[in-house]
């Protein structure tokens, strides 16, 4: 049951990324290219996603636990630190170099373009290296 719901959630997420145009690196790079012919399409994706999620999370605030688990897994509130900002900066550079963030890259595996597979492979290597080089936070 848990896996079936996670699969459904992944499918919905992937379909949303496709409908939003985020599986087209040209659209993503067009959004980040504010000095060129700017394409605001991603703004609509982000607005739709954030608004829907915010409403849903707010409605769920009254719940004491999720349907199939004992607790909600919410990241603890911590101060903004260099590690957060440095990681976000490194991610932003990679995003701007390729036009892929993790979700759209995974969805795009089925596009059967080998360059996309290369991106996914080095991204997985990056996650593995990150876990090795930077000790997990307690």
């Amino acid at each position: 049951m848990r896996s079936a719901l996670a699969l459904l959630s992944g499918l919905l997420f992937g379909l949303g990324l496709i409908a939003g145009g985020m599986t087209q690196p040209a659209v993503v790079l067009g959004f980040l290219d504010v000095a060129g012919i700017w394409n605001p399409q991603l703004l609509f994706v982000m607005a739709g996603a954030v608004a829907t999620t915010a409403i849903g999370y707010r409605l769920l605030r009254r719940w004491h636990q999720p349907l199939l688990e004992k607790t909600f897994h919410v990241p603890p509130a911590r101060p903004i630190d260099l590690r957060l900002l440095g990681g976000a900066a490194v991610f932003g550079i990679g995003w701007g170099l390729a036009g892929y963030c993790p979700g759209p890259a995974l969805v795009s595996i089925a596009g059967l373009w080998p360059p996309t597979w290369l991106f996914v492979a080095t991204m997985m290597l990056g996650w593995w290296l990150g876990a090795r080089l930077f000790a997990p936070r307690q």
Partner: protein
């Protein structure tokens, strides 16, 4: 529908996915965390739902093709060296910074997390600056 309303509809689907995952499993829909922890850092009993979510992402283009006749996937128009480096930076950066466009940019911003709002501003600015450097300083790409 114009492509902007289709884009907003796509965003609503992403939001519905995030709400579904939170309501049932109590999890934040952050792709780098869900998949990244599968590679390093998850407990044995905590893997099946991660695998299932990633499988859903990978299978989505098949459903999209069945519904709309196109998988909606664009070809990356970037050199292999640049793509490989980009993937490495995306993996490292999201692991160090604890999230990507989905976990920080959608879910974190939706729950008004100060950390996620800060991270989102930073990766947007660095993404914009990187595209500017690649496209307008003639390094090619």
């Amino acid at each position: 529908m114009s492509h902007f309303s289709t884009a907003a509809f796509g965003g609503i689907l992403i939001g519905m996915s995030a709400v579904l995952l939170f309501a049932t499993l109590g999890r934040i829909a952050g792709i780098s965390g869900i998949f990244g922890r599968l590679i390093a850092g998850s407990e044995p009993g905590d893997r099946a739902w991660r695998v299932a979510f990633v499988a859903g992402l990978i299978l989505a283009p098949l459903i999209a093709t069945a519904i709309g006749g196109s998988n909606g996937i664009g070809r990356p128009d970037t050199g292999l060296l640049q793509l490989g480096l980009a993937g490495l930076l995306v993996g490292l950066g999201t692991r160090i910074g604890g999230g990507c466009t989905s976990g920080h940019g959608v879910c974190g911003v939706a729950r008004m997390s100060g950390r996620s709002i800060a991270a989102t501003l930073v990766f947007m600015v660095f993404g914009i600056v990187t595209v500017f450097a690649v496209r307008h300083f003639g390094r090619g790409g």
